[in-house]
Symmetry: C2
Subunit: 450 residues, 2 copies
């Protein structure tokens, strides 16, 4: 008895209709990246295990799928692209034209328990702008992200983008209630406030040895932050105590976001802190405006990372967007186009006894972009389909032709073929005409380009 | 001191120019598959280790990168796509429309010693036609393969395709010198004749317990086969002894190949046996016509495989083509287009003190396909680039604009901007004009669509 197998836990099979959705999303990512002047890169699917410890420490190892090669080197499937990016930049930094504007669409892997929106294998769009320290690069990254979301049909009622700035926030914190040597503790706490209830927060304060004054301030943040996905948290109550230059910088950045067409979706949001320790300035997060799903994308400035991987000191900003949550959101909001699968241009119906003429015709149609003699041909090779049912019943074959999505059916039948002719049926308007075999390619292209 | 890392042995980093080549090849594979009516699919990058033993036995395990997940399940990175394909078909066979015409472009992995044309990580195009037993499906697969190679610019002086047919060959062998119970031994020997010298062949005959009569026949094959990549081996000397119906079938298939436009590149070739045990009928191999590289692609009919994976009995035929050897060949024969990287449409030069106007303009140009009010706009969002050099020297910025490949430079300078105008420079013909900021989007699209 044959054993039946399934896809491993946390992975996906992409049947044609699933693949069409994946291609739709990937094509938008690629198209938008390119029109913003980013160039595509990729790296190996696995790296030396140690590469992943540089940024994330030893704790990352338990979340990796790791293995050894024949040379007993320890390798791991990539959980994210940033370490590969940093390695690639560090390796060739001297020879790369600046600024470096790269994007990639790698498959990534996490050895975690699968949940809604979080799988063991997923695809993550990465956009990184390296070598430019100004906030123009921050806004450029944000603009690519927003354009892709708009291109997917998402609007302000679907998504909300919160931004923050670690450098500005650090200034505000240290000028109000956080001692300079307590900044990293403060970020550790801030990142958790929204997810923890009061008891958990108290334990957190204890663990981080917070002063009574710190506790008091964090609790006022916690009240403002509310629950994840709630309203954006402006400076509001805190503004009175914040340094004027910090407030001014936030205001200027908001104005510039408006110039870049981003004001409608993006708001300063104090609750967006981003957990990762390596962010150094601007940070942002794309959230479900209805608060039901995990974060859709997130990123920020990481000016010290390239150096950590052995490269020169290079400012950098970037973000990642996974396919899993985005696809869930697009399905929930009915934003996926109905017809994503490629359809046939032409369906050839062969009611002749022999396949020779049909085979020749199909081949010519599929290769027809190479026919340079006919200046009317402006479309590349046609998508041509035919039946494998072994029937010569034209009625049944016309049904199959309609199902293929083709706009044109070409019918090879004995009577017409004897006169060097065939029947062309326009499946859109149901009109029919008889046309010479020798003229069919041009006629088909004319109809399709109308 | 920072440690520097490199890509793991046998894997590749894809910097922008490498990625452009990869995309060029993948796009041709995808485009050609679709116009032949195949639908794209994909599966997980890793499967349960046992899945790979079904087709290839326990020996495959040493060639796999394998690991365990948290549930102690044994997993392996896919060395090829066929087991995933067979699993996916077997799992949903009842619900899939027939015939099943699928293609995929997966990354695959082999834990082998890397060599020229053979890496540990590679990309393999797979095309499979399932549910159709006739030789129309065989030719359909061959036609997709040939069309992709033609689309890459390869000709009969670059590649040669040999085909053979296991069922016909088995008939010929058993009607001449091979006993029915010795057929699999005969294939084992035939597959190795071309690669072995006389001493190795003698050892092979001994190992396979060949009769003197078998040895004699195999030696005459070996003389005909010559060296790998030599001339195609027709039936020639053997024809006299072969059954008439076998000879007739070969002749008929050759005629049909001509109808499908494949005669120029494809020849019956007795030396193409294909090592894998699971082929049941038609087999073919694409070779470097100058004999320098490994096989470029290969495949054939495997009518029993779906059943081995727990599915219903379903005839099937397919082939695989890797990216590594193809890319080597395209480079060696100078067939890669010179310009593969996407280039800018428009380069915006900002010589104003403030970035607001430039930012607005860039955003409008990139999103300009959403501006439905202007019917002249037929191109989607433009590829717009700008400088990050922090200079307002127009001469230097024009140099950068030329380097970007853009056809148009838009120059924002104080004098013109004060009058609501900007300068448009056509970088192709060096002409310049002044135009109103409000009219620029239409004008740019007009120039680009000329």
């Amino acid at each position: 008895m044959a054993i039946t197998f399934q896809a491993p836990k946390g992975t996906r099979d992409f049947y044609p209709s699933d693949m069409a959705v994946r291609r739709y999303i990937e094509d938008i990512w690629r198209k938008v990246s390119i029109r913003h002047g980013f160039q595509e890169v990729d790296g190996p699917t696995f790296e030396l295990l140690d590469l992943y410890k540089i940024k994330s420490g030893d704790e990352i190892v338990s979340q990796l799928f790791s293995f050894t090669d024949r040379g007993e080197r320890k390798l791991a499937l990539r959980p994210e692209f940033t370490p590969t990016l940093a390695r690639m930049v560090a390796e060739k930094a001297a020879g790369l034209p600046r600024p470096i504007k790269w994007f990639s669409i790698p498959r990534c892997y996490r050895a975690e328990q699968p949940q809604k929106g979080r799988l063991r294998e997923f695809i993550q769009w990465n956009v990184d702008f390296i070598g430019e320290a100004s906030d123009r690069a921050d806004r450029q990254c944000l603009a690519v992200c927003v354009d892709a979301l708009l291109e997917c049909g998402l609007t302000a009622s679907d998504i909300r983008i919160g931004w923050n700035h670690r450098e500005l926030l650090t200034k505000a914190l240290t000028s109000t209630f956080v001692a300079p040597d307590r900044v990293s503790n403060a970020y550790y706490v801030l990142d958790r406030l929204q997810k923890y209830d009061l008891a958990a927060r108290n334990a957190l304060y204890q663990e981080q040895q917070c002063t009574p004054q710190e506790r008091e301030h964090f609790e006022s943040f916690a009240r403002a932050f509310g629950v994840p996905g709630g309203n954006p948290v402006g400076i509001g109550d805190f503004a009175g105590n914040w340094p004027a230059d910090v407030l001014k910088s936030i205001q200027v950045f908001e104005l510039r976001l408006a110039d870049t067409g981003l004001a409608e979706l993006c708001r300063f949001d104090l609750s967006v802190v981003r957990g990762l320790a390596y962010y150094t300035g601007f940070v942002f997060e794309v959230m479900d405006a209805q608060g039901q799903n995990r974060a859709i994308a997130g990123g920020g400035r990481y000016d010290q990372l390239i150096e950590m991987f052995g490269g020169p000191a290079m400012p950098a900003v970037g973000f990642g967007m996974g396919d899993v949550v985005l696809e869930i959101l697009l399905r929930e909001r009915h934003k996926l186009p109905e017809k994503l699968m490629p359809v046939a241009d032409v369906f050839v119906i062969n009611a002749l006894e022999d396949s020779a003429v049909a085979d020749q015709l199909i081949t010519q149609l599929r290769r027809s972009q190479w026919n340079a003699a006919h200046s009317v041909i402006i479309r590349p090779g046609l998508n041509v389909q035919t039946s494998y049912r072994g029937t010569r019943n034209i009625g049944k074959l016309l049904q199959e032709a309609s199902g293929s999505g083709a706009r044109i059916a070409l019918i090879l039948a004995p009577e017409e073929a004897g006169r060097g002719m065939l029947k062309l049926k326009n499946l859109a308007d149901r009109s029919e005409m008889e046309i010479a075999l020798s003229a069919v390619i041009n006629r088909v292209h004319e109809i399709l380009t109308k």
